[in-house]
């Protein structure tokens, strides 16, 4: 069966960057938005390592802020490098999605 984890990782990173670029947000809210847009089987535990990775690469930055529910939450915002990475992801996704769609629509002659 097709191993979707590699494809998911890169795609999710791009989507997380996009969501964070629109507003300052936190892990649980990102997860809710991703599932709302149709990503299935996504949990906070799925995206948390990706957030750690993006932060390590300085594409996003985190800051603890008080939360109305429980302890302080880490809110993420996009960095300059993150915006550049998002722009290149969007451009690459546009080109590759068109190409992949063309190939997948091929039929046996």
């Amino acid at each position: 069966m097709f191993d979707k984890s590699q494809l998911m990782r890169g795609t999710l990173e791009g989507c997380i960057l996009k969501i964070i670029s629109l507003e300052v947000t936190y892990g649980y809210e990102i997860m809710i938005k991703l599932t709302g847009y149709g990503f299935v089987d996504i949990r906070e535990g799925t995206i948390y390592p990706l957030l750690v990775r993006l932060e390590k690469k300085d594409l996003i930055s985190g800051e603890f802020r008080p939360s109305p529910l429980g302890p302080s939450r880490k809110y993420y915002f996009i960095t300059k490098g993150g915006r550049e990475a998002l722009n290149s992801f969007e451009a690459y996704w546009q080109s590759i999605s068109v190409t992949v769609s063309k190939i997948l629509s091929l039929e046996v002659e």
Partner: protein, 229 residues
């Protein structure tokens, strides 16, 4: 200067107390396993804070922790280890030096308190400490064993927390065997005096080394935290 890493650790300990028993056990296994990794100490505490926050929010939403992070806690930790910031050579060196100075210092203190040295100091005002081959070998053995036991327990925290009978028996046998070996080395090799020193000098040396390593560690941790903000 107060170590901000210790401050964060204290805050996390307070948060831990709000966790349910089940979530507390899971968190303990995860943090223990993360400590076996090459991740920065500060990053481990930040991850701990965030995971504890997730668990507490899940509790408030009447959800289970595995609903939030999935059932495979070890896989999540492996992902975090892969993606997090790694310790530098300087940090690793400081960490090893800290453990060595603390371990040797403790064993040295035990040697003074549980040998005739303490009687000589109190009764006769003599500070001579005979350094025996038994003391050197058993100290070396004890430090190596402490390192090995720590590594084994942190790397296998998930398996060990299952509390199966076999694991418990192996642990008891290993623990007894190791400390019996240390004691036997101490007793049978203990008579050969290699040299004698004034016990104040090593005490002073170990105290200075401890303060130095601790303050270098604190300074480095605080500098590191500044770069994260």
């Amino acid at each position: 200067m107060a170590n901000q890493l210790e401050q964060l650790r204290k805050e996390n300990n307070v948060l831990d107390k709000q966790l349910s028993k089940e979530n507390n056990t899971i968190m303990m296994d995860m943090v223990c396993y993360l400590r076996s990794s090459n991740l920065c100490e500060y990053d481990i505490e930040i991850i701990r804070k965030e995971l504890t926050g997730m668990a507490l929010e899940a509790q408030l939403r009447n959800e289970k922790f595995n609903d939030v992070v999935g059932d495979d806690y070890k896989a999540l930790c492996d992902e975090l280890m892969k993606n997090g910031r790694k310790k530098t050579l300087y940090e690793k060196t400081l960490e090893i030096l800290y453990v060595l100075v603390f371990g040797i210092g403790t064993l040295y203190l035990v040697e003074i308190l549980f040998s005739s040295t303490i009687i000589n100091i109190v009764k006769f005002g003599q500070f001579a400490l005979p350094i025996t081959s038994g003391f050197l070998v058993s100290t070396f053995f004890a430090v190596v064993m402490a390192f090995s036991v720590y590594n084994y327990f942190t790397k296998n925290s998930f398996e060990l927390s299952n509390h199966n009978r076999k694991t418990q028996i192996i642990f008891i046998i290993a623990f007894t065997a190791v400390w019996t070996a240390v004691l036997l080395i101490r007793v049978y090799m203990g008579n050969t005096v290699l040299w004698s020193v004034n016990c104040l000098y090593p005490t002073l040396f170990l105290a200075i080394a401890f303060v130095l390593v601790k303050s270098l560690g604190d300074r480095h941790a605080n500098n590191l935290i500044k770069t994260y903000r």
